[in-house]
């Protein structure tokens, strides 16, 4: 049920409807599992082709086309193929998968079983973060119900195809959201991401077998692609940005929350749907797709050329709210976690908060990231505490530049991008902040609260 008329709800269609519950009878009363039944009348390769044709892109962060990801699976190795749902939703600002798992778990199971059949999967897993204990229980219960009715487990829908589904709980490590770290964790090890190549999950994944790792929302979309057809799905949103996306908005807006939309601008989401800034405040900056993504400063212009040669010149509110739109503005839509920073927020203190996060979450195997993230925390924290050194702003940038691109996984970019972009767009504020905080008469309580790192 849409919360705002500008929403276009597909995945969350029933989630907030009064009386809608996570149990299987409720799901089936809305036509649930009908698409799975139909899937068994098709050939697995036809389902894969349909998903590829839909141009569905991953909803977890990188936006890689799901159909292409599936097409890379090594089907000739003779080894079992595994499917893992990445439900380790941990990117600060993101809380969409939580809604699906809590309110409509069977939709995920149906999407997963269609995907499993399409890829001849031997066993499927849902890797869920530890901090969502209730969602894990809801999923366990839903899987039991689905098994009883023959939609999961042995001989699904009487087709002769069997696929067990297991919920695996993490233990509070953000890096498990990185797919190869997740696989290591599922194997019972530290979640140290693997080097690609050779460890592309589609070839050498779980137990060195071909493995597909897809996000919760992506797998739900598979169900809807099979239900409405790739053509209809492709008509939602823009080409190469097909389907709806669930955006999570937090921070300085009047109506924070999760909204499923397609084909709108960033301004429509922030101002129309979320009601814009709180009374008496203005929007200073927007982190568009989770805390790792480069910040957009309100007031800057985003200029460039469209693929057809025409030119665009956008304010932050004009940016098309999709993968390509936000990429054209120099950032990424990531996991859809949008954080709005209003004029009461100190950018350097916000960065200090995030650097505590990243230094805590670095897995530690690559030196630039392990050491660098800690230094970024130390430097930003000493700025907050009025102990900045004259060259600290330059030092921050230098450390970030030495992490980006020099690590095994993309976490290095996730640490570096906030530092690089915040300084690029708010350098003056950083320099003023360092000086101002160093004045012994300055009241530092509010910036300390924002940094919230007790360091």
């Amino acid at each position: 049920m849409a919360i705002h008329p500008k929403e276009h709800r597909v995945v969350l269609k029933y989630a907030d409807e009064p009386g809608y519950t996570p149990d299987i009878d409720c799901y089936m009363s809305k036509g649930g599992y009908e698409t799975l039944k139909t899937a068994f009348t098709k050939k697995p390769e036809d389902i894969r082709d349909e998903v590829k044709k839909s141009q569905l892109r991953g909803r977890g962060g990188a936006g890689f086309p799901a159909g292409v990801k599936w097409s890379l699976v090594d089907r000739k190795s003779g080894k079992p193929i595994y499917l893992v749902c990445n439900a380790d939703e941990s990117e600060p600002g993101t809380f969409k998968d939580r809604q699906i798992m809590h309110k409509d778990p069977h939709q995920l199971i149906e999407g997963m079983m269609i995907s499993a059949f399409a890829n001849d999967v031997a066993q499927a897993f849902i890797y869920i973060r530890e901090e969502m204990p209730k969602a894990a229980k809801i999923l366990d219960q839903a899987i039991l119900e689905a098994k009883e009715k023959g939609f999961c487990g042995d001989n699904i829908c009487g087709s002769g195809y069997s696929c067990d589904l297991v919920v695996h709980r993490g233990a509070a490590a953000y890096i498990c959201g990185e797919e190869t770290g997740l696989i290591e964790s599922l194997e019972g090890k530290r979640a140290n991401p693997r080097i690609k190549p050779p460890y592309f999950p589609a070839v050498l994944g779980l137990y060195q077998c071909p493995t597909i790792v897809n996000n919760v929302e992506t797998l739900c979309d598979v169900k809807h692609i099979m239900e409405m057809g790739a053509d209809a799905f492709g008509k939602i949103g823009r080409p190469n940005n097909t389907g709806t996306r669930i955006w999570c908005v937090s921070g300085g807006v009047q109506r924070p929350g999760y909204y499923e939309v397609a084909g709108i601008t960033l301004g429509e989401l922030v101002y129309d749907i979320c009601g814009g800034p709180l009374p008496g405040r203005t929007i200073k900056a927007i982190i568009p797709g989770g805390s790792s993504m480069k910040i957009l400063r309100n007031g800057e212009r985003f200029k460039g050329k469209n693929p057809d040669g025409s030119e665009y010149d956008w304010g932050v509110e004009d940016i098309p709210l999709d993968y390509d739109g936000i990429a054209a503005a120099g950032s990424m839509s990531g996991s859809g976690g949008m954080m709005v920073l209003d004029d009461t927020i100190s950018i350097p203190a916000a960065l200090a908060n995030l650097m505590s996060f990243y230094s805590h979450e670095s897995c530690g195997q690559c030196t630039p990231c392990r050491e660098g993230s800690l230094w970024l925390k130390k430097i930003t924290t000493r700025m907050v505490h009025g102990e900045a050194r004259p060259d600290d702003v330059d030092l921050l940038k230098s450390v970030a530049d030495q992490i980006a691109g020099r690590t095994i996984c993309a976490f290095g970019f996730a640490v570096a991008w906030p530092v690089q972009s915040y300084i690029a767009k708010f350098e003056e504020e950083f320099r003023e902040f360092a000086e101002q905080q160093s004045n012994p008469d300055t009241d530092r309580s509010s910036v300390k609260e924002l940094a919230c790192n007790h360091g």
Binding site: G93, H168, Y174, L186, G188
Partner: protein
């Protein structure tokens, strides 16, 4: 290892879920921590024996994941989110109020043994910030007054227990 019968049953069932035994290390540690409150070296050795692993391999898992702990905590485990969306909405003040109400320090055990209050990284509920987990229950849209209410409830429950 002195574990409850239901913990042992859960452990045996967990091992069967995976194609390779070692994958059950986290489920086993979860089950033991839930039963005993933390994971001791003895428990790590026991898990290693159960899954044909070396004790150091189990220990390397315990020390990597923040949720696994090698020490006791209070009867109730309180985790206040500290990451950006919650911090912008006043998470720091909420945490301070919890600490004051229970007369305790961050990460310590309150004098009455009832709670341990910690900061946690993003709990994935930024739209209803600030939030905290009390054991498995998520509390949303908090402020200092609501934090005090939750503290009073915990204290009342402890008295009636």
């Amino acid at each position: 290892m002195n574990l409850k019968p239901e913990t042992l049953a859960e452990i045996e069932a967990s091992i069967l879920k995976y194609p390779e035994k070692r994958s059950a290390v986290m489920p086993l540690l979860h089950a033991i921590q839930k039963d005993v409150g933390f994971v001791s070296n003895e428990a790590a050795e026991w898990v290693a024996g159960k899954l044909d692993m070396e004790p150091i391999q189990v220990l390397s898992v315990i020390t990597f994941y923040p949720f696994f702990r090698q020490h006791k905590v209070g009867k109730r485990h309180i985790r206040v989110c500290r990451t950006l969306a919650c911090a912008m909405a006043g998470g720091s003040k909420v945490c301070d109020r919890m600490l004051k109400e229970f007369d305790t320090d961050l990460n310590g055990i309150s004098p009455d043994g009832e709670v341990t209050v910690e900061f946690a990284e993003c709990l994935a509920s930024c739209g209803s910030a600030p939030v905290m987990l009390v054991d498995e229950d998520l509390h949303e849209n908090l402020d200092e007054a609501k934090a005090s209410e939750i503290c009073n409830k915990i204290k009342a429950e402890a008295k009636n227990a």
